[in-house]
């Protein structure tokens, strides 16, 4: 008998535990459990308002923590305690989707990457419009940098940078090959220089990422894009096909480019390869400076930045790429304070100057471009060269913008998993075939919604 009642109790206990587990599962916040690292600012201040922040970039986390420290110095009457949590890219965006969908667990402020941003503009947008911050100074911003986060006249994201694409040249390799980089004016010149580099040094002129970095900057600089202004898909347009043919020729015809180690420019494999002088040049937005100083210390003083070579049929010297929009979620209990802090950290003049001095990001507010602080010495001037900001000033009137649609994430995912793989790596589809096939897939999805 004793045994029986014991087993009965254990069963009861077990069911109780299970019940508890189920309850806590349903009631708890959808908060991710394993944050990579957490930075806090203002934790020593009593009765500071607590604000939480999610990001996917460690460098951004430092930036916001520093901004919170400055905020607390300047606003002793409304101090904040900012907790910045840094998660892996996919995990952060997925968790945010879940939290916003389910209605609980979202942070006050969050960094949302451009490739994912339109996912958050569907349905009843769970982000707060930032119009009252942006509209009074709208003419100070580069317009398309704020419009990429816009829906129905509301601006939901605070831009991080202009993201102008440039070319980084490894001067050790260019000098060895005897190429004068200032003579590279057009993409044809670039190909010729590349052939010389490969011939003399045996190293590739560049590497191509098998994600959007390998096509979008080239396409946009040509004046083309994946969507037109009406939101119609133009992925398989003549210009895009020609652009992909050009990229494909770099790799498979002229053999002056290889596929990027680790498939992208943000992988450990690539950082190591580039740092060891693995390739002569890299086409990427200006914001990559921070990656150079952080992950490629051996290249200090060896890299020169130049505008992109031109297409024969386009005047654009650069294209704006990428971009993280910082948003305030509707679940925040301190929406006004969060917005005020966001303005202070990123949208104000001072904030934009900090974006340059701390992160090396080309500021999205053009009215700070002429400020003396931009010319002051900082780590980026030391790592690269004196006139890096002047290069931006020379191209600023010839920067192509990008069009963002609700289906941009689908296009980028197709590029990542199908187009670049089939054309560049497998070579079992021509650029035209691959682009047409992917475009059809996406059109089918667009048509059905």
């Amino acid at each position: 008998m004793k045994k029986k009642s014991l087993s009965f109790f254990s069963v009861l206990l077990l069911s109780f535990v299970l019940l508890l587990a189920a309850c806590s599962g349903g009631g708890s916040e959808a908060k991710p459990t394993n944050s990579d690292d957490v930075k806090t600012a203002g934790s020593d201040i009593e009765d500071a308002t607590e604000l939480s922040f999610w990001t996917f970039a460690g460098t951004h986390a430092d930036f916001y923590a520093n901004a919170a420290e400055r905020w607390n110095e300047q606003n002793p009457d409304k101090p904040i305690k900012l907790t910045v949590e840094n998660y892996p890219f996919d995990q952060m965006h997925n968790n945010l989707l879940m939290a916003l969908q389910s209605g609980s667990g979202a942070p006050d402020l969050v960094d949302i990457e451009l490739a994912k941003f339109s996912n958050f503009l569907k349905g009843d947008v769970q982000l707060e419009p930032l119009n009252d911050l942006i509209e009074p100074e709208l003419d100070k911003f580069i317009p398309e940098r704020v419009s990429i986060y816009e829906k129905d006249g509301n601006y939901y994201g605070a831009p991080t940078h202009l993201g102008a694409s440039v070319v980084y040249y490894n001067m050790e390799i260019m000098d060895e090959a005897g190429v004068d980089i200032d003579e590279i004016k057009t993409w044809d010149d670039y190909v010729e220089a590349g052939k010389k580099v490969v011939e003399v040094t045996g190293k590739p002129m560049t590497t191509i990422a098998t994600n959007w970095y390998g096509i979008w900057p080239f396409a946009a600089q040509r004046g083309s894009d994946f969507f037109d202004e009406n939101g119609e898909l133009t992925l398989d347009s003549k210009e895009n096909i020609e652009t992909l043919e050009f990229v494909n020729a770099l790799v498979n015809e002229h053999k002056i480019a290889e596929i990027a180690p680790g498939n992208g420019y943000h992988s450990e494999e690539f950082y190591g390869f580039m740092n060891d002088g693995g390739q002569a040049s890299l086409v990427i937005p200006m914001f990559y400076m921070k990656d150079f100083t952080t992950y490629m210390p051996d290249l200090e003083g060896k890299v020169q930045i130049r505008p992109m070579p031109k297409w024969s049929d386009s005047e654009y010297q650069s294209a704006t790429m990428g971009g993280t929009g910082t948003a305030v979620t509707s679940q925040s209990k301190h929406i006004d304070l969060a917005k005020e802090f966001l303005y202070f950290a990123k949208l104000s003049k001072e904030g934009n100057i900090q974006l340059w001095t701390e992160l090396g990001f080309d500021p999205p507010r053009w009215d700070v471009w002429e400020e003396p602080e931009m010319k002051e010495d900082n780590v980026y001037y030391q790592y690269f060269h004196k006139d890096i900001f002047d290069i931006l000033l020379t191209v600023k009137d010839n920067v192509a913008g990008i069009q963002i649609s609700e289906y941009t994430p689908d296009v980028l995912s197709e590029i990542d998993s199908n187009i670049m793989h089939k054309v560049l790596r497998e070579q079992n589809a021509t650029p035209e075939e691959a682009l047409k096939e992917s475009a059809d897939t996406i059109r089918q999805k667009m048509g059905s919604n």
Binding site: K4, D90, S413
Partner: protein
């Protein structure tokens, strides 16, 4: 004499019961109620963690789900499921299932027989060595597999391949090697568990049968064919069924190698597609529809398999 003793005991038991037992306990411990008490935890966890989400997913598959806007859209989600990407995922999952079932049923039987025989020494070590992968975190395993099967010539797998005089393989980027990676990872991971099932099955085979088979002059293969296999049949059916279900549900193996987006969708599985569409692209209704299709698919295949093997008849025998 013996009978009487038992009877006596039976008669004695009630009188020895403590009198102060309360009636609720009596009720709960009665023979009619106690089975329900024992299955209660399962029923609760099943209802909350399986049944409710299943019903919910079924409903979601007819909706377009966006924050604050849940809209009933009928069969629209189902109408757009059957496209190239879905067929690719279905193809991958099917091939994966077939391969894992073949490997994870045949190899463990042989390993189990070896481990059960007198030929092998240090059995416990082998047994635990085979079982440890099942306890390893799949994410850790994925990192190691990625390094072993990296594209460079210096990666372990390519060194081995090079030793035999073949060109280095870019393992994670070609269709056959991508599938090979997933299958080898699953085999490595679940081998030990299946070996345990078969070892348990082998224990239940009466040794006399082998002896009489030997007397009849059966050789090793005949003994295996006519004694071991028939006795292992229920275990084989069980292991095959869970392998089929596990095969169609594969997700982690693909995810840890390619993080969601595999080149040319060589590693896209049905659950991977569900994750991609439902979570990464924020289309939960569509994701739910894929889930329902997957549920029906697994259900049909399992039922067909169980009918073919006669598993349902066992109760009637």
């Amino acid at each position: 004499m013996y009978e009487v003793n038992v009877k006596n005991k039976r008669n004695l038991t009630p009188t020895q019961k403590p009198k102060n037992e309360n009636s609720i306990m009596k009720f709960l411990n009665s023979k009619k109620v106690v089975p329900y008490v024992f299955v209660f935890p399962f029923i609760v966890s099943f209802t909350i963690l399986t049944l409710y989400p299943t019903i919910q997913a079924f409903m979601m598959s007819f909706q377009r789900i966006l924050p604050g806007q849940i809209e009933f859209i009928g069969l629209q989600n189902y109408e757009r499921i059957f496209n190239q990407t879905f067929y690719k995922a279905l193809f991958n999952s099917t091939i994966y299932t077939i391969l894992t079932v073949l490997i994870l049923v045949s190899v463990p039987i042989i390993l189990a027989i070896l481990l059960d025989s007198k030929l092998v020494k240090f059995k416990t070590i082998f047994r635990s060595a085979l079982f440890i992968p099942a306890l390893t975190s799949i994410v850790v395993a994925g990192v190691i597999f990625r390094l072993v099967f990296a594209g460079s010539e210096n990666a372990i797998a390519n060194q081995i391949v090079g030793f035999f005089g073949f060109e280095p393989v870019s393992w994670q980027f070609t269709a056959w090697s991508g599938m090979f990676l997933m299958v080898i990872m699953a085999s490595w991971r679940w081998m030990g568990v299946n070996v345990l099932y078969f070892l348990a099955g082998l224990q239940s085979i009466p040794k006399e049968l082998y002896e009489s088979a030997e007397i009849d002059g059966a050789n090793l293969f005949q003994k295996f064919r006519n004694v071991t296999l028939p006795f292992l049949k229920p275990i084989i059916i069980f292991v095959t069924t869970i392998s089929i279900i596990g095969g169609f549900r594969v997700f982690e193996e693909s995810y840890v190698i390619w993080q969601g987006n595999s080149p040319g969708n060589i590693g896209l599985t049905l659950v991977g597609l569900l994750y991609q569409e439902g979570i990464q692209q924020n289309d939960m209704g569509f994701g739910a529809a894929i889930g329902v299709v997957l549920l029906i698919l697994i259900f049909i295949i399992s039922i067909i398999y169980l009918l073919l093997t006669g598993a349902f008849k066992r109760g009637d025998e």
